[in-house]
Structure formats: C-alpha cells, structure tokens
C-alpha cells in the first residue's frame, strides 16, 4: 500500500519530539478523524533553524510529518510557506489516494506554525 520511502520515514521518523520554548507551534487535524499533528519551529534570521513534530495517526500521517521537517529545515519562512501538500506526497514517492486528503496534513501544520510565529512576533512589536 505504501511506498518504501513512506515506510522508511514511518520506521525512522526524523526530528520527532517537541521544542521547548518553540517560536511557533502549529496543530492541525483532529483525533476524531484519526490524525492529529503538532509542528514546532525555531526561527533565526527569518530561517527555520529547527523543526520537530509529534503526531497521532496512521503510517502516512507519521511519514508526512517526518518528511516536512526535512523539507522545511533551513528554508526561509517565505520558501517554507510555499511547500505544499503535493510536495510532501511527491517527496515520499506518492501516497494512496484515500490518504491524500485525510493524513497529508504536514504542510498545513508547518504553515500554521509559521503563522503562529508571525502572530507572536507582531504582538511583540506592538
């Protein structure tokens, strides 16, 4: 059902965990649907310096979370905002069609974390 790349990320997820005092946190999904994902970011000089995740969900949910941390690390915030759901799925060699909608939440999680960071920064500047 899953590609070898998905299984590899499921077996050995990259950057799993939380970042204490993260600059931005994005939580998306809903345990009711079977997928819940939190993305934590540290931002330095407009770049994603560190990124971690925690995920409740199926194999695809865990693998996409792991993949987004690899795709986003070191990118500028503008570049990171451009990473799409499709990019995540492509980087994993594709996902089963039924998983494209429900479990492919990682890009949304990343974008939510960046927005959280920007909102906090704006609040500080006021």
């Amino acid at each position: 059902m899953y590609t070898e790349k998905v299984m590899e990320h499921f077996r050995n997820p990259r950057n799993m965990g939380e970042i204490p005092n993260a600059d931005g946190v994005g939580t998306v999904g809903n345990p009711v649907c079977g997928d819940l994902m939190s993305i934590y970011i540290k931002v330095k000089d407009n770049h994603i310096e560190d990124i971690k995740f925690k995920t409740f969900g199926c194999g695809a949910a865990i693998a996409t979370s792991s993949m987004i941390t690899e795709l986003a690390r070191g990118k500028t915030l503008e570049e990171a905002m451009k990473i799409s759901r499709g990019d995540v799925a492509d980087s994993l060699g594709g996902l089963p069609p039924i998983k494209m909608h429900c479990s492919n939440l990682a890009a949304d999680g990343l974008h939510a974390a960046i927005q959280d960071y920007l909102k906090k920064k704006e609040a500080q500047n006021k």
Partner: protein
C-alpha cells in the same frame, strides 16, 4: 491472527471438493444417474449443515452464495412476503454491513427500521428490544455473535420475546457458526445465515436456515432451484466443501474451542498486564473463542498494524484509516467508545494454525511498539512516557 479477514480452506475440505470439478460435474437437476449422484452429495452436505445448527429437517437449509446473500435473502425475503402484515423491522446498532445496508435499502421502499442499542460490552439491551417491537413489526434481526468485538448475544431470550410478540427472528450467525454450539430449535430462531468461509470452507457459498412454515419469498428468480427460494445452478464443489467444513467444525468444536479460548485469554491477559492504558473491547466472558479486541489509548490502529506487520504479525484494526471509509467501526462507536478510542483498537482473530508461541510472540513484541508510537503521539500524557 487475522482469521476473520480470510481463512485457509481445510485440506480435508479441499480433498472432498476436488472430484466435483472435473469428474462428477453433473447437474443435480438432471434425471440421469450422473445428476442423481451429484444430487446425493448435495443432500449429504445439507444434512451436515442441518446437524451443525440443530435444524430438524434438511430441507430447512437453503444454499446461497455466502453470508451477505443469506442476510439479504432473509431480510428482504421476509419483508416483501409479509408486508401485508406490517412494515416494521427491528435490528441492532452492531450488525454486519450486509444487515445494516439491507435494512437501509428497505427504508427507501417504505419499511421502517428501529436500531436497538447495546451496552458497553456489546450486549443487546433486551428491554429496549422488547419495547421496539410494535404491532407492525414483522422481523427482528440480531446477530448471534459479533465478529469484531466477539460478544455473544442472548439469542434464546430474544427469541422468546420476538415470538411472544408475534414477529419472526432472523439471526446472522456468520461469525458464530462452527465456533460455538447453536441450536435453532431451542433458541427460537426462524431464519439463520451462515457462511462456509468462516469455518474453513471455500468462499462463495453459504446457507440460510428457514424454519418450515416461515413466510418468505425469493430475491433471485430463475429456474427454481433450492425449492424456488434461490434460483441458479448449484455450486456443487463449494456446497460439498461447505458440508465437510460443517462436519469438521461440529466434530472439533469442543476441543478447538477450548484451545482457542485458552490462547485468547493468554493473549488478552498478557497484553493488558504489560501495556498500561490498554483495555479489552467486548464482553469479558461471553465472547467468541477466537476473538481478542484490545484498545490502546493515545495511538492509532493503522500505525500499530504496520509496526506488527514488520515483525510478521497480521491483525486488523477498528480504525478508519485501514478501511475504505473514513469513519471508524460502527460497532466500536455503538459500544460507546469515542472516535479516538475506536481508532486505537486492534482485532486479533485466532485460528487453527495459531499456537501458544504465537501469543507469546505478540505479547513480547507489542509493548515496545506501543511505547514507540506513544512517544510520537502528542496525546500521550507525560507520565506514560517514562
């Protein structure tokens, strides 16, 4: 440990089937001797199935293409034939989809369906069932045992009520037949569905028990086979195979049932003791010998299944993410689990080839898998992570 999803056909069953493909290929409806030999084999199979379920007469057993067709025939056949008497059907919230969706289809044809709730163990609430039966009720359909959570229903008690209220009782015994003792006469059953492939027989064949005198009409019309109730040339190799499977199931029920119950209890106890925040789904004692359904808080079933599969362990889940729909199992929701609890359930269905070593292997492997997935999950409370 996923026998419910697919059982191997018993070698002894395969053996008796083989001659009926290319050597004894006659049609039981033919008058010549090749036809009559095949007819004899078919009637022997019917006798064996009648014996398994305690039917008084062979002719109360009708062959179908499987459990789904048997459930369709029982419910639609009784509903259409008795609509002059009423348009109300009573069933439960934990039935198989072939009962659920048949009832749902009938609501589009003017029938009304009441769904009786179950308790937290999955046992049908008998008082609610009694109250749900009205003077318009023609049929009550309750499963003998639930294949997903293993709970066995109080069919005899339900049968008494249904008959007292003047309705007919249909029982879906697909998960139970061959595993536990059933007697259609003593338990007031009017119609009962069984399937061959849930007792180590071939796929594509099943049976419907219809008590003599029950008002029912066919849903498949044609050449009038099965005394007009189910037309279509009989699938003789499969019917002979199902007969053999029923014979073996009856002969081995006691010893195999006791063996599987021990295995089930060992697996259940081992997992509940070694994994914190784990719970048994279904009834603790009134359950099928082969069924262990266990839920683990804070994690999701598909990731458990993938992890177990890497270690060569096959089982199922109540999670949406392993099925074609996005909803978790309606059975797990009916026993009162929250969506996220239903998602974290694993179903082990044991069978002939499972051993004590298999149970030990799972009990040894699963704690670390659960621990790893809980470490990844944002829902896990901190105290469980140490």
């Amino acid at each position: 440990m996923d026998y419910t999803a697919g059982m191997p056909v018993d070698n002894r069953v395969v053996e008796v089937m083989l001659p009926y493909f290319s050597q004894q290929y006659g049609n039981p409806s033919s008058l010549h001797s090749s036809g009559s030999e095949v007819r004899k084999a078919m009637e022997e199979a019917r006798t064996k199935i009648a014996a398994l379920i305690g039917a008084k007469k062979n002719e109360e057993v009708f062959f179908t293409s499987g459990g789904t067709e048997s459930n369709n025939l029982a419910i639609k056949g009784v509903a259409y034939r008795n609509k002059d008497r009423g348009n109300h059907i009573v069933t439960t919230t934990i039935e198989h989809m072939s009962v659920m969706n048949t009832c749902k289809a009938l609501t589009k044809e003017g029938f009304n369906v009441a769904y009786v709730p179950v308790d937290k163990y999955g046992v049908v609430n008998v008082q609610s069932l009694e109250k749900a039966i009205t003077d318009k009720t023609i049929l009550v359909s309750v499963m003998y045992a639930n294949g997903e959570i293993g709970t066995i229903e109080p069919i005899k008690e339900i049968g008494e009520i249904v008959h007292r209220k003047g309705a007919l009782l249909h029982v879906d015994a697909v998960a139970a037949a061959g595993q536990i003792s059933i007697n259609v006469e003593n338990e007031y059953i009017d119609l009962m569905s069984i399937s061959s492939n849930d007792m180590y027989g071939p796929r594509g064949v099943g049976a419907l028990f219809v008590k003599t005198g029950t008002r029912i009409q066919p849903i498949i019309h044609g050449g009038g086979q099965e005394r007009g109730l189910r037309s279509g040339t009989e699938n003789i190799p499969a019917i002979v195979g199902m007969g053999k499977a029923a014979e073996i199931a009856k002969a081995e029920m006691k010893t195999e049932g006791e063996r599987l119950s021990r295995l089930r209890d060992k697996l259940t106890k081992g997992l509940l003791e070694s994994i914190p925040s784990s719970f048994l789904n279904g009834h603790p004692t009134q359950r099928l010998p082969n069924n262990a359904n266990i839920r683990f808080s804070y994690i999701e079933g598909e990731s458990l299944i993938l992890s177990l599969d890497m270690l060569g362990i096959a089982c199922s889940s109540g999670s949406a993410c392993t099925s074609k729909t996005l909803e978790p199992s309606h059975v797990l929701l009916a026993i009162g689990l929250k969506h996220e609890e239903a998602h974290g359930s694993l179903l082990f269905t044991l069978g002939k080839q499972n051993t004590e070593e298999d149970a030990d292997y799972v009990v040894n492997a699963l704690p670390d898998i659960v621990k790893r997935l809980r470490a990844i999950s944002p829902l896990t409370p901190k105290e469980l992570l140490t």
